[in-house]
């Protein structure tokens, strides 16, 4: 897929829900298993977002159905019963697009002086 087609495909998935965005974010750069995702999200948000197993797997199912993430081979030495997940190309593009969209929103907020100007 050429880059612009990929971007168009990615934008079709926006906006993402809170939970989905965090799941994708935690898979950025490395594959993780389900429990790893929960821990990662919990740490990043200082415990403000603790995913329940049910919520996580509902999101994983949807992300897999949509082709944003896929199952990865279990790394050597890891518990073989744990399934790892990683971002697909489309998933990475969606995460990037959503992040840009959010950044854009923050810029708008700065412009409207809802937030202090950047650089500080």
């Amino acid at each position: 897929m050429d880059p612009s087609a990929l971007r168009r495909a990615a934008e079709g998935h926006l906006p993402l829900t809170h939970v989905v965005y965090h799941v994708l974010l935690s898979l950025a750069g490395r594959a993780r298993h389900g429990y790893g995702i929960i821990k990662d999200v919990e740490e990043r948000t200082d415990g403000r977002l603790v995913l329940e197993a049910g919520t996580l797997y509902a999101a994983i199912k949807r992300l897999r159905d949509d082709g944003l993430i896929d199952a990865r081979p279990t790394p050597d030495g890891a518990d073989a019963r744990r399934r790892y997940y990683g971002l697909s190309k489309l998933g990475s593009a969606v995460l990037e697009a959503e992040s840009l969209r959010l950044a854009e929103l923050v810029e708008y907020a700065r412009g409207a002086q809802v937030l202090p100007a950047s650089g500080g």
């Binding site: 829900t17 389900g34 429990y35 929960i38 329940e52 197993a53 049910g54 919520t55 996580l56 797997y57 509902a58 994983i60 199912k61 949807r62 019963r81 744990r82 399934r83």
Partner: protein, 882 residues
């Protein structure tokens, strides 16, 4: 348990989702819990699994919908379901109100009892490192009876020899008079030995506690006040510390105020340092002091126990005369404070748990019925391509809405319940005055509501997510019974409800029978329409002075309207240590004409000094000889009376009148002639057994501890205040230690049993009503479903009685199964309330049979109402409805 519930819930997910992720979800949830478990208590576990379970329900509903292509993803769809549920419930106000009320009852009762369990048992004690504190009890090697108490000499020897305890101290009950506005008020003071506050771990709220230096140069004239006294008498004035109070005529400086929760021993009002007493060294038998000890760092409780056992043994061999059969035990402070209420509270907690389960079963049953009513509709849609996921979504959403409403109403009921518990709860329920609805309790209510939402949604969702299409459509087409699967599921619910109700009803029945047996126990004296009033009259120049004051008080009391008699005793039967202190004196005696038993093996008797009209006023019958009268004064022959238990044990069938006994009591004990025998009285309430007692004439054996008994021909309540004023009018400086009606005093022995009984009875009645509603609902439902069949039977000439019998039989069969299971469970469970029973076996056949029959009768009655409706079915109408 919680994990298993979670696993069951995972199975509500669509099958394909389960295959793909079910195993992983279970593992992840478990991993997460294992990491938290070390930091979380039982409540944390409930909160964690509750949250995870709710997430499953929410997601399951969303996924089912998604699979059926009928909605968006999770949250939005779920909100839609919730809105739909609210609308649907509004359309059926009767069903909704009944269900919400049912749940609220369950949640409210459970939460109210939980708040008591939480405050009384779970919350940490307000003493520093309370787990290291032990209370010393004396146990009698022969009888095994435990009693509070250690003598100063024994305690001091143990303290000096101990290696496992860093502090050991005693507290001695020491009533003091505080001068307030010219009147003397009795202050329940404890004189504590060196190291008491270190041992118990008490820190002052303001000021300081008594420390070692306060004992160094004689004991300091200081006092520590309880929080309650500080608030009630001194308006919480922080300036109290450093000020001077007049106590027992002497000046004492207030050095501190203890925090509100600090109430050891008992309801202490003040603490003073205890001076070494001249008799400390040689009164090892004076074991009425409360002993408390703190383990040194690193010593285990078992080590402490072993050491005390060994120290007691060495005391017994060093001082065989007084310490023979001596054994001391240490028990943890927590056990000492809440030991007697722990089992009843857990029993009540289990009972309300049952009520909540039964309520959930009812809600589940009602929802199954509603689902079944619509099942043909849904099955048809399913056949046409739509799924049944929606149905699960609706059930889940409805149970959540119902649980939420139930929770709100339940919390309201909790406030009410907590007020009831506070009003009704036994006085010695520790910290009961602090009982309140706080964050933890509210969290519990929410957890209980979440649990009930999950439980009541479980059966219907399980059932409805696997509909049997052919059955549902087939049933309709056959026009008969139908909904057999739902009926089976509901039948199981009803059976378990009946079983649960039987367990509770039998439990309450056993308590009720115990209570009835207890009330039938003759006290041996009349408590009705009597005021009892205790004074400690030690502060007099001479016996004559004291006599004059007492006589004047008696005269004034006799002049009060309605008073028919006034008597006095040094120790009132069935006093409690609450309002009226128990001044029990038990001493050895010998019978003068018999060979004396070896020293230390003399029989013992309880003794008290009474005024001549005591037996009259108390209505204790004189069964042999004569009563003490006014001629038995200090110049007359020394006489004594005994009770029947005394006479039976030591004289058998022979009349003891004229026999002489020597009771080792007082400075110069003399032989006394037995002049009369009186009926037995119960020394400590209905549950206690009469024991040998002897009575001295008050005129021959004066006492400063005196209790007035004022008999009246009317309700005694209104005489309490005038009786107190009679004492003060005789001597404004004479404090009244306590005054109440005798009935209230005797009743306080039953307070705890009454508390357990009332609550358990209420819970069992709720359970019974809920199961009756369950049976009623199921039978009505099945009558509705069989209306066609019933109509045909009627048309073919079926007799009404047969039809009623058929329908009632259905309910009765279920009730019978529930009854058998419930009686079996009650048979097993009733052993846990054995300690709460009195002369009733936990498997009392009469209670089991009688209440089993009652539950069965009520169940049959609940089935009869819809059955009667069945026979009114108009055959033509019924057939047309096909």
């Amino acid at each position: 348990m919680l994990f298993r519930l979670y696993c069951a819930l995972v199975r509500l997910m669509p099958a394909s989702f389960q295959r793909e992720y079910g195993e992983e979800m279970r593992r992840v949830a478990q991993d997460q819990w294992e990491e938290r478990a070390p930091y979380e208590g039982r409540l944390g576990a409930l909160a964690f699994w509750g949250r995870e379970s709710l997430a499953i329900l929410r997601v399951a509903a969303g996924l089912h919908r998604h699979e059926n292509g009928t909605g968006g993803m999770t949250m939005d769809g779920f909100r839609h379901d919730l809105r739909h549920a609210v609308r649907a419930l509004k359309r059926r106000p009767g069903f909704t109100a009944l269900t919400v009320f049912t749940l609220a009852l369950g949640i409210g009762a459970t939460t109210a009892i939980f708040s008591a369990v939480h405050t009384v048992i779970i919350e940490p004690l307000p003493y520093a490192d309370a787990s290291e504190v032990a209370v010393l009890l004396r146990s009698h090697a022969l009888t095994g009876e435990r009693s509070q108490g250690v003598s100063m000499a024994n305690m001091r020897d143990m303290r000096d020899a101990s290696t496992q305890f860093e502090a050991m101290a005693v507290a001695e009950p020491w009533s003091m008079d505080l001068q307030v506005d010219g009147l003397a008020v009795s202050l329940r003071t404890w004189a504590v030995s060196r190291g008491f506050f270190e041992a118990i771990g008490g820190r002052a709220h303001i000021g300081r506690t008594i420390t070692d230096t306060d004992y160094d140069e004689g004991v300091a004239s200081i006092v520590v006040l309880s929080h309650r006294e500080w608030v009630n008498r001194f308006d919480s004035d922080p300036g109290i510390v450093g000020s001077t109070l007049t106590l027992d005529g002497g000046a004492r400086t207030v050095i501190g105020v203890m925090p509100a929760e600090f109430r050891f021993p008992d309801a202490a009002a003040a603490w003073i340092p205890r001076a070494e007493q001249p008799w400390d060294d040689n009164s090892r038998a004076a074991d009425y002091l409360t002993g408390v000890a703190r383990l040194r760092d690193g010593a285990s409780f078992a080590q402490g126990e072993a050491e005390v056992e060994q120290l007691a043994a060495s005391l017994a061999s060093s001082y065989p005369q007084v310490n023979e059969d001596l054994a001391y035990e240490v028990i943890p402070l927590r056990d000492y404070l809440v030991g007697s209420v722990r089992t009843p509270l857990f029993v009540l907690m289990a009972a309300v748990g049952f009520v909540l389960l039964i309520a959930c079963a009812n809600v589940a049953g009602l929802m199954l019925a509603r689902g079944a009513q619509r099942e043909r509709d849904y099955a048809l849609r399913g056949a046409l391509g739509a799924g049944t996921g929606r149905l699960v979504g609706h059930v889940v959403a409805e149970s959540l809405v119902l649980a939420l409403a139930g929770c709100v109403l339940g919390v309201g009921l909790t406030y009410f319940g907590v007020a009831v518990i506070r009003a009704l709860g036994p006085d010695h329920l520790p910290r009961i005055e602090q009982l309140s609805v706080d964050g933890t309790v509210l969290l519990f209510a929410v957890a209980a509501a979440a649990t009930s939402a999950v439980l009541s949604a479980l059966a219907p969702s399980w059932k409805l997510s696997r509909p049997n299409l052919r059955d549902a459509l087939g049933d309709g087409s056959r026009g008969s019974g139908g909904g057999r699967n739902e009926a089976r599921a509901r039948s199981r619910l009803v059976v378990s409800q009946v079983a649960g109700a039987v367990v509770l009803v039998v439990g309450a029945g056993l308590l009720l029978r115990s209570f009835a047996v207890l009330l039938d126990q003759e006290l041996g004296f009349a408590a009705k329409d009597r005021v009892v009033l205790q004074i400690f009259a030690y502060d007099y120049e001479s016996d004559e002075d004291r006599q004059a004051v007492i006589q004047q008080a008696i005269d004034e009391m006799k002049a009060l309207p309605g008073v028919t008699g006034v008597a006095m005793t040094s120790n009132l039967p069935s006093s409690t240590d609450g309002v009226i202190a128990n001044i029990e004196i038990t001493v050895p005696f010998t019978i003068s004409d018999r060979a004396p038993p070896p020293e230390g093996q003399e029989p013992i008797t309880a003794i008290s000094s009474v005024s001549p009209d005591f037996f009259d006023v108390m209505e204790i019958a004189v069964v042999d000889g004569r009563a003490i009268d006014a001629t038995d004064n200090v110049d007359a022959t020394p006489v004594i009376m005994i009770n029947e238990a005394f006479a039976r044990r030591h004289f058998g069938d022979v009349s003891p009148i004229g026999e002489r006994i020597l009771v080792r009591y007082g400075q110069n004990p003399v032989d006394r002639e037995i002049v009369g025998v009186v009926g037995d009285t119960r020394p400590t309430g209905h549950a206690s057994q009469p024991r040998p007692e002897a009575y001295y004439p008050l005129a021959q054996a004066g006492s400063g501890s005196l209790t007035f008994v004022v008999a009246a021909d009317r309700d005694a309540e209104s005489l309490i205040q005038p009786a107190m004023e009679a004492v003060w009018s005789a001597n404004p400086a004479q404090s009244v230690y306590g005054a109440t009606t005798y009935e209230a005093l005797v009743g306080s022995w039953l307070q705890e049993r009454r508390f357990n009984l009332v609550l358990l009875t209420v819970f069992s009645l709720i359970a019974l009503a809920l199961s009756a509603i369950g049976i009623y609902g199921l039978v009505s439902f099945s009558v509705e479903r069989r209306i066609g069949e019933l109509g045909i039977r009627r048309a073919l000439g079926g007799r009404s009685t047969d039809l009623v019998g058929m329908v009632v039989g259905q309910g009765a069969r279920l009730a019978a199964v529930g009854l058998v299971i419930g009686l079996g469970a009650a048979w097993y469970l009733s052993r846990f309330i054995q300690g709460m029973l009195f002369e009733v076996a936990p498997t009392d056949p009469l209670t089991f049979a009688g209440l089993g029959a009652l539950v069965f009768f009520i169940a049959a009655l609940a089935a009869t109402v819809p059955a009667l409706r069945a026979v009114r079915v108009d055959p033509v109408e019924a057939l047309r409805s096909e």
